[in-house]
């Protein structure tokens, strides 16, 4: 048996409202909010980045798994599309910060927004093979978005860390399935400040094709149906996509809504589906079944079927819930946003 032993999230405190961004570009704020189902998004402080967010999330995950000695974590993977170094891993800094060094393997992963779920699969493999006792996968981002582009309303900052193991499991991973194709829906070249995307092309052929087929594939593999799940979590680039994916697949809205945090948070890219999953774990009852399908541009999805176990009860409240981070906020204006996002020309830290 392999599953989630501990989980933790972190979201920076700062927020910017859709209205404030729309004000800059003369866009219709209400129209944007309706089409994206996003009200505001999180913004990292100048001294925060994917590394610092990963460390905070990792520390929170360890708080939920107090029996885990960090030295027994045999693998750490950090998935992000905003690693501060292009060469030099985030994972080693996290490993040092949580005192997991030196007996572990570590690597950074990139697969747009689904790098961390790929990291979870790697941990599952190592744990099941008996090579490691615990593995940690972290999804964190301080996502870049070109000013005045639609993505600017969504790209936000946050992260989640998951400890995978066989002992004291709070949610069993019953199975996993992945669906991967080469699709240029969204990309960023080395040296480019901002990603580019294919507009409407990112919808049906990209997001929906992967997410729907992957989820179907998982249920087929496990012999499960939407009715078997109490919650379903999808990657949340905006509020509309997950609702539509649920509808296509036959999941009722009540199963999607509890995890739909993009409205208050924005799209935390590599953190997105994993923070949404944490929102569910914060409230799920023992015996609940959860289906989660991530999505990463390029493109691919990883699906997992999870069964919540007894261990959730003593562990759940050992670390701040997602709701705590959503409520912990302070608004900034576009000028401060520009400074925080390092968008002042020639004047960054």
């Amino acid at each position: 048996m392999v599953g989630i032993v501990g989980y933790g999230v972190y979201v920076p405190k700062w927020r910017i409202k859709i209205e404030e961004i729309a004000r800059m570009w003369g866009h219709d704020a209400e129209g944007v909010k309706k089409s994206l189902l996003i009200e505001e998004k999180s913004v990292p402080s100048l001294d925060e980045d994917t590394v610092t967010i990963s460390v905070e999330a990792a520390r929170n995950a360890l708080k939920r798994a107090p029996e885990v000695n960090p030295k027994e974590i045999g693998a750490i993977y950090v998935g992000s599309e905003s690693h501060p170094y292009v060469v030099k891993p985030t994972a080693t800094i996290v490993a040092e910060a949580i005192d997991a060094t030196p007996s572990l393997t570590a690597a950074d992963m990139e697969f747009a927004c689904k790098a961390a779920t790929a990291g979870i699969q790697a941990c599952i493999g190592l744990v099941k093979a008996g090579y490691i006792k615990y593995g940690m996968s972290i999804g964190a981002d301080t996502a870049q978005a070109e000013p005045a582009d639609a993505l600017e309303y969504a790209a936000s900052a946050g992260g989640a860390a998951y400890i995978i193991g066989s002992d004291n499991v709070l949610a069993e991973i019953e199975g996993t399935y992945s669906y991967t194709q080469d699709i240029p829906d969204f990309w960023r070249r080395d040296g480019s400040d901002y990603p580019k995307h294919g507009g409407r092309f990112t919808g049906d052929p990209a997001y929906f094709a992967q997410v729907v087929n992957c989820t179907k594939g998982l249920m087929q593999k496990l012999g499960t149906k939407p009715e078997d799940y109490d919650y379903v979590v999808f990657h949340e680039p905006n509020g509309k996509y997950p609702l539509r994916a649920a509808k296509i697949l036959g999941f009722t809205t009540e199963k999607v809504l509890p995890g739909l945090i993009v409205t208050q948070l924005g799209n935390t890219y590599s953190g997105s589906s994993l923070i949404a999953l944490a929102t569910i774990l914060d409230r799920a009852k023992v015996g609940d079944r959860i289906l989660i399908t991530s999505y990463g541009s390029g493109a691919g999805s990883d699906s997992f079927s999870l069964l919540v176990l007894d261990e959730i009860e003593p562990k759940r409240n050992l670390s701040p819930p997602v709701g705590y981070y959503l409520d912990r906020k302070e608004y900034i204006d576009y000028a401060m946003y520009t400074k925080f996002r390092g968008q002042l020309r020639g004047f960054t830290e």
């Binding site: 402080s45 100048l46 001294d47 980045d49 610092t52 460390v55 409240n317 050992l318 912990r328």
Partner: protein, 148 residues
């Protein structure tokens, strides 16, 4: 300056990432930063490295408005002397709050932040800072202990 000397920065990674101090097992005094000798016990002391809790309160603070080289983009920022629960004090930035929210006695907790970079091509220096210890969320065990 010593700034581009990467070993110089690396040498303190563990201490700056994990907030390490020294406890003299002989007299029980806690020190920050790490020391090789207890100034009180001298040779009779038994210094050992410990992880500090990261909880404390603000002993004094200021707002830096004329930053040194490398910190320009962060200004204005709060620098404080923090008194840790275990006893020793240290100097650190106080973040995640507005400049006028900080006050002497305010409870704070440690967080992990970027300190600076050594230029756009240089390494990134990480370490501890402190943020207000939020009173609205506490782990269950603390709540029970406080009887709330």
């Amino acid at each position: 300056m010593a700034m581009h000397a990467v070993p110089f920065h690396w040498r303190r990674y563990k201490e700056r990432y994990q907030l390490l101090g020294t406890k003299c097992e002989n007299c029980g005094t806690m020190f920050f930063p790490v020391r090789k000798i207890c100034p009180k016990c001298r040779r009779e002391g038994k210094p050992s490295t410990v992880k500090l809790s990261g909880r404390g309160k603000v002993h004094s603070f200021t707002v830096i408005r004329t930053p040194p080289d490398g910190f320009e983009v962060f200004a204005p920022y709060v620098i404080g002397v923090i008194e840790l629960d275990e006893g020793p004090k240290l100097t650190s930035q106080i973040v995640d709050c507005s400049l006028d929210e900080v006050n002497i006695g305010m409870p704070v907790e440690v967080c992990f932040r970027k300190l600076r970079t050594l230029g756009k091509d240089g390494i990134i220096c990480y370490g501890f800072k402190f943020r207000p210890a939020d009173n609205s969320w506490k782990p269950e065990s603390e709540k029970r202990a406080q009887g709330s």
